[in-house]
């Protein structure tokens, strides 16, 4: 292998490396750009939505209220159980018996 051929191989490798790096960078930047674009679109639709925006807002607040309502089921069931326990009267078992 001559010195000239070694130089050619090194140059090719460098070119390939630069190309791969460029490709990776392009992909990464385009991904970031895409996300930024989506965010921008979402922002626009929120501010320009008009009736559609109101419907969305109402929907969100209704969902929050119904979610709170659903979340109460478990604790209300526990409260019913505790309320029933409150009515237990076994105080007669503390009537003194001297054996």
């Amino acid at each position: 292998m001559t010195l000239k051929s070694i130089g050619h191989t090194m140059t090719r490798r460098t070119v390939w490396l630069v190309m791969v790096l460029a490709l990776v960078l392009t992909l990464a930047l385009s991904a970031c750009g895409g996300r930024g674009g989506l965010a921008g679109n979402r922002g626009n639709s929120g501010s320009n939505g008009g009736n559609q925006g109101n419907a969305g807002n109402q929907s969100t607040s209704v969902t929050q209220v119904t979610q709170d309502d659903d979340d109460l089921n478990a604790i209300m069931s526990a409260l019913d159980s505790a309320n029933q326990d409150m009515n237990i009267d076994d105080s007669g078992q503390d009537n003194e018996i001297v054996p």
Partner: protein, 260 residues
């Protein structure tokens, strides 16, 4: 006019009167006598009676522990709320265990009977401790329900503000009742908690009238708080159903629960 009995008749009459008096007096004497006929002079019988009574109370205390831990695992009680209650149960269990050790070691039947009596007097597990604990558990859960319902207020207000105009009156009526019920529940919870310091074995043993009055107030206030919270929750449920309906989901029939 003189009234005279023949001698034989007089004796019969006297005998009959004496028999009548005796028959009336004997049951009264028997009732007034100390109830120590169950075991008589058998100390092992007294010890067994006491041990059984202690075991029964330990089992009831274990059941209370299980119940409280169950409420914690369901998220109805916080560990902070459960902690002091579980500590009190442990204190009673340890106290009963010590009393059992003392009773089992007694060699004098009078001392053994005193130990048995102390199972009632010192602990009052069934008359005081468990009923009080059950009410405290209910009050703690109610405090948590009240917190959750109060936290929903800004969301309800926001949802009503964005609701269709034709639903707003109905929603506002329900929301007004919701807030009134929460206020009522909070007042009743405060009232109930105010009775707790009176409810001790000592008050039960020495001032029963005061104890009974405080316990009746605790029970009534706790029940009233429970009822108010159930109504508030019902209001919230109806609000949620109406709001859902305004989005196109069918609304079930509504029974308004306005406050008096």
């Amino acid at each position: 006019m003189k009234f005279s009995f023949p001698k034989g008749r007089r004796t019969v009459f006297f005998g009959a009167t004496l028999a009548l008096l005796l028959s009336a007096a004997i049951p009264a004497i028997a009732l007034a006598a100390p109830q120590d006929t169950r075991c008589g002079t058998d100390i092992s019988c007294v010890k067994k009676f006491g041990d059984d009574a202690i075991a029964k109370r330990q089992t009831s205390l274990d059941a209370a522990t299980t119940k409280i831990n169950g409420f914690v695992s369901k998220g109805a009680l916080t560990s902070t709320q459960a902690g002091p209650l579980l500590d009190q149960i442990t204190t009673n269990k340890n106290g009963l265990a010590s009393l059992k050790t003392k009773l089992d070691g007694e060699t004098d039947i009078t001392a053994a009977r005193t130990d048995v009596k102390n199972i009632y007097l010192q602990f009052r597990i069934y008359a005081v401790f468990l009923p009080r604990t059950r009410h405290v558990v209910a009050l703690d859960i109610m405090t948590n329900v009240d917190g959750k319902l109060t936290a929903a207020e800004p969301k309800i207000e926001d949802a009503i503000a964005k609701a269709p105009a034709d639903k707003k009156d109905q929603l506002n009526t329900l929301y007004a009742d919701f807030k009134a019920q929460l206020k009522e529940a909070e007042a009743q919870i405060d009232g109930a908690q105010g009775q707790l310091p009176v409810l001790t074995p000592n008050t039960y043993n020495t001032d029963r009238a005061t104890y009974d009055k405080a316990f009746a107030a605790l029970h009534a206030d706790t029940k009233a708080a429970h009822d108010a919270l159930v109504k508030a929750r019902n209001d919230l449920h109806q609000i949620a159903m109406i709001l859902k309906g305004s989005k196109g989901t069918p609304v079930p029939s509504i029974t308004a629960t306005p406050s008096a």
